[in-house]
Symmetry: C2
Subunit: 447 residues, 2 copies
């Protein structure tokens, strides 16, 4: 199954108007598109928004045990919002399409795996004649991706299967939102999170709290509204933003501070739902990193969470979606687990699980701990990898431990590199991480 991988990390259907994204953030997600290189198999095609370092591509191919030269990497010309995003104009560019058609024919491609299967990818799939062979195309082609990418759809489906979710609802009238917010949450001392219906990565979320000091994890900011008048003022100011000018609805939920975000990732396939793995956002010692598997898996509530994930995926399977689903939840300070979102697309964790399965080995989930770090600054790629090798820190297939650079940032500013530390346990991770930190810091000062 030679696959066309399209690393469209942000799309119009995920975030609304792409032009509103900060240029620095566009470059960040453009760089992070390299994550999908870890999904490559022999004979695949990878479409990236920005060119990747050839040495990095060889390193990924070697790590995965495939021939670099069996794989085609294509970058379409920069588009109306620059080079960080695979915007619609880039993916439908005539020259790019001609090159892609030739590559698809040469590689015998018969499957499309984008980061997000939006209407542009659906069009691309049809233009390449791959619509009939792509699983779930019937649903995705008729705007199914947008349907499942909606936070109000999540609330309805979770309600339908009685999944444990934070107290909340879906609102289109400001007055009803106000009544629920004040009477149901704020006057009881609980903060609330307000979510735009279509947005990702917390950029469409804000928190209102009756008390100061609430950290806005998963949201842009916290606004303190101590009485109903302040709440009304906040809603008056922000309703237009929250509803995208009245276009959409707003999901409002109780926000539980000091909770730990976790996720479970599955693949919804024709025959049913396959479990991929789970992970957790690391909160300490720094708020950076994904831990796989999730340490919360030890909690009594965790099996119930996995049951709810399975239940939630039944309607997602039934509507005809095929592909990756990431179900996000929080572990509250009371050690309850509440599901607060799902994403029917490739996740920020997908490549970590691919590395686990294909580099570390099938039993990685039982035998190893993987910690991913983001927004890091390295020396230039070849130097960084060489330094890891020299110091015995590079990933070693013999011990099945060590460090893999997962995303390279060769730009002059840097800062968007990513790596994964593989160890036998949490202590091993800590040691390796410390050593890598010191190594890269030392290199940093040498420059």
């Amino acid at each position: 199954m030679p696959t066309l991988i399209v690393s469209n990390q942000r799309t119009e259907e995920m975030v609304g108007d792409l032009e509103l994204l900060d240029p620095d953030y566009r470059r960040y997600v453009g760089n992070q598109a390299q994550r999908m290189a870890w999904c490559l198999r022999e004979g695949d095609i990878l479409v990236l928004p920005m060119p990747a370092d050839e040495e990095f591509l060889r390193y990924v191919a070697d790590s995965l045990g495939i021939e670099r030269d069996s794989v085609r990497v294509i970058v379409p010309p920069a588009g109306r919002v620059g080079e960080g995003l695979l915007s619609r104009d880039r993916l439908t560019d005539e020259g790019f399409l001609a090159e892609l058609r030739e590559a698809v024919a040469a590689q015998g491609t018969d499957r499309v795996l984008p980061f997000h299967f939006d209407s542009t990818v659906a069009e691309l799939t049809r233009m390449l004649g791959l619509d009939r062979v792509t699983p779930g195309f019937g649903f995705l082609d008729q705007s199914g991706g947008r349907l499942l990418n909606s936070k109000s759809t999540f609330r309805a489906l979770a309600g339908g299967v009685h999944a444990p979710v934070p107290e909340g609802g879906v609102f289109s009238a400001r007055e009803e939102a106000e009544a629920f917010l004040w009477e149901g949450l704020l006057s009881q001392g609980h903060p609330a999170i307000l979510k735009q219906d279509f947005h990702v990565a917390g950029f469409g979320n804000e928190i209102v709290s009756p008390v100061p000091g609430v950290d806005p994890l998963g949201a842009r900011r916290t606004v303190v509204t101590e009485d109903r008048e302040e709440l009304v003022k906040y809603l008056t100011d922000r309703w237009d933003w929250l509803t995208d000018g009245g276009r959409n609805r707003v999901v409002i939920e109780r926000y539980v501070p000091e909770s730990v975000p976790i996720y479970a990732e599955v693949r919804v396939e024709e025959h049913g739902v396959e479990f991929t793995g789970h992970g957790e956002m690391r909160m300490k010692p720094v708020l950076n990193g994904l831990i796989v598997p999730a340490p919360s898996a030890e909690l009594p509530a965790f099996p119930g969470f996995l049951d709810a994930v399975r239940l939630l995926c039944e309607p997602i399977h039934a509507v005809g979606y095929r592909g990756i689903v990431s179900v996000d939840a929080i572990v509250t300070p009371d050690q309850d687990i509440l599901i607060n979102e799902f994403n029917c697309r490739t996740g920020g964790s997908t490549h970590i699980h691919r590395i686990g399965e294909r580099v570390v080995g099938a039993d990685y989930f039982e035998e190893r701990v993987l910690v991913e770090l983001r927004r890091c600054t390295f020396p230039p790629f070849a130097t960084a990898v060489e330094a890891l090798r020299t110091h015995g820190l590079a990933y070693d297939p013999a011990t099945r431990t060590g460090v893999l650079v997962t995303v390279d940032d060769g730009s002059p500013t840097g800062g968007f590199g990513e790596y994964v530390v593989v160890a036998e346990d949490a202590d091993g991770v800590r040691e390796l991480e410390l050593a890598v930190g010191e190594l890269f810091a030392a290199h940093g000062t040498e420059d």
Copy 2:
């Protein structure tokens, strides 16, 4: 299961702004709310937007074999859009709620059956403490009704189960809509129907055709656009209306003139999907009337249609909806059957099937033909029923044939009455219908 029946025939979530509905149309749907009286069982409560004639209510109860006095009928005070619609302000009116609470307690009500389970009915259900016992509440409470009431959701779900649908798609960009319309349909000589995402009864639909003479069945009008320039002009003029000011997307499908509309109605219940029946819109001799069962059931394509209905209901069941689903389709001149919509609510046909099951008898679907006529003018109710009896036309439980008045219009203007003719076959229907027409016409001239 004493039931609270709320005959909210049009809601904000079905049609958008209720104030935009023509006052005459509001009165029409307010009157037609009487249809749900045919869903009454012993001990139920019926909420109507406008009072019904007491003699009519006794007639319905007698026909159904229940005690009129076991049933409570409640009409809330007129609201901001008058008395034809059960708008949100009416269903949350304090005095009405007090009366309803008392009635629910007295009757031991444990179920809510609205025409449309929107967020207002969800709130009402919760205020009455019936949320935990109402099947599907978890889904409906979290905006599930709006989700399923969307025409783009229909397209995605139909795509997901590969149901036979007209060629088409879901569009948010005008340029893409134009390209599909022109290249895919109009330049090939095919008309197209453009549908607002949220609207009922064809009020949100328009047809564009490359040739004149296309009858706008299921739409407001046909616009002839002979070349691409005219199409662009039409889209420029109407895009704002079609997308409700950019709020929603537009479903565009090939429109097949001279097709016959049919439907199948089912009940989605906890244990699975139960078939209720099917019917067809009568096109000749007049475009008025529902025929049950659908004469098209004889066609070779019909079993495939019923299979597709079952497949489509799987995701509807899986997402957690519980209640009535009506799946609409067309029979094309080539005798293909293409599904073009579903409605997850009580249908305009539901009461006909209730009359079949409960008045005519369980085998009505095999043994009888029912034809419903709408927008009729009768003499005053008691006079009409007496005249039917005198002339031997009234429904007779002995022969299981005859005429039932299903909706009374006692207003000075009249014109919104409805009745059902029950006969052994199409010939019997024709005879009875002719006799009733003559009888009522004679009475009309006597007035």
